[in-house]
Symmetry: C3
């Protein structure tokens, strides 16, 4: 009897774990909730977060550079540091980035951006999509904006 | 014998659940298929969906506003409502959005867009990336286009 | 005794599977690592990957067309083929794409792009976001750039 009871408890316990695993696979039953970091407000109302997380996926907000010198290498350096700061805050890292979007103010800055960008995400770099938007099209006159998707 | 048989059945049943959970963790074995909503056709051929879903992740198509008045607050309102409609159709909500991309027709509309955008995604807002593309660069002359990634 | 031992082993084995499933649901414990394909280097340093994978999610880099003729239908065809090549290399397919981003050099190419794009992702197409960036804003003078998120 005691053994049966122990087995039952073990089964119940395993079932509990299994059901959690299953809940993940079957999203309608999931209890997963997103977490957010570093909320920016506008007129005292939440506008956007610096990062959001669901499960092991991390989404980082578009980051720009808004200070002198207005030069592509300096701005790329600032933006990469901002991404890294958000990633670390979320428990991730540059090496765990899956996808980066790069928005340049001017396509002429493509090579300069690459000079600073190369190697910054480790030996297994994320995919990347780069385009130049309208002149002045990055908010705050940044020469470059980047966002990313990563994991923990 | 009977007890052994019951234990075996329970084990088999638990194993079944576990294997599903494991299949999710080990994607090569996964039976997950995407679901789509609201397919737009072009010349009677599927062009794009309004939303796609894989597991608990939801992807919503870029939404624009194509009606009078061609004014940023009005267009932002329309676009946010379109996102919300797609999210609800997919079983999600504004509060469950993880990432938004905002494409403006004109960077001068940044503040006007923010006025309408703020607070619309709840107290834990998604990350956001905003850029202004080419003048007239949003299809259908919309002043703003937004897409998002969410969950259920 | 033997039976007890077998039951214990079975329980341990199932627990092992369950814990993996649970590890997936509880990302801090996950052992998941990204995989990458087709790394492009810049000055002998990794710059970006052609695709990255985490679990069953696949991210494909922005693809452009850099050859004659500089005509939207030809370039769209090249870009779609490049996406397909990366998807297959990653074990995925056009039918398993969840989200596409299309960056045009000129909004006037919207219809021409659609002519080639329609039907290419099967009957359950991905969501899509299309914008025209700056003239010349797609690297390498491509008339169109596309990236995607897919699954395996």
């Amino acid at each position: 009897m005691e053994r049966r009871s122990i087995v039952k408890k073990m089964l119940a316990s395993i079932a509990g774990i299994s059901v959690l695993g299953f809940a993940k696979a079957s999203p309608i039953q999931t209890a997963d909730e997103k977490e957010v970091n570093n909320v920016t407000e506008y007129e005292d109302v939440p506008l956007f977060s610096g990062s959001t997380r669901l499960g092991n996926m991390i989404f980082v907000a578009g980051k720009g550079a808004h200070v002198e010198p207005f030069e592509i290498k300096a701005h790329t350096e600032i933006v990469l540091k901002e991404l890294e700061t958000e990633l670390k805050k979320a428990g991730s890292s540059m090496e765990k980035v899956l996808k980066v979007n790069v928005y340049l103010n001017d396509i002429a800055d493509y090579q300069g951006m690459n000079e600073v960008y190369k190697g910054r995400f480790g030996k297994k770099p994320p995919v990347r999509t780069t385009v130049a938007v309208a002149k002045g099209g990055v908010p705050g006159n940044s020469l470059v904006e980047m966002d990313c998707i990563a994991y923990v």
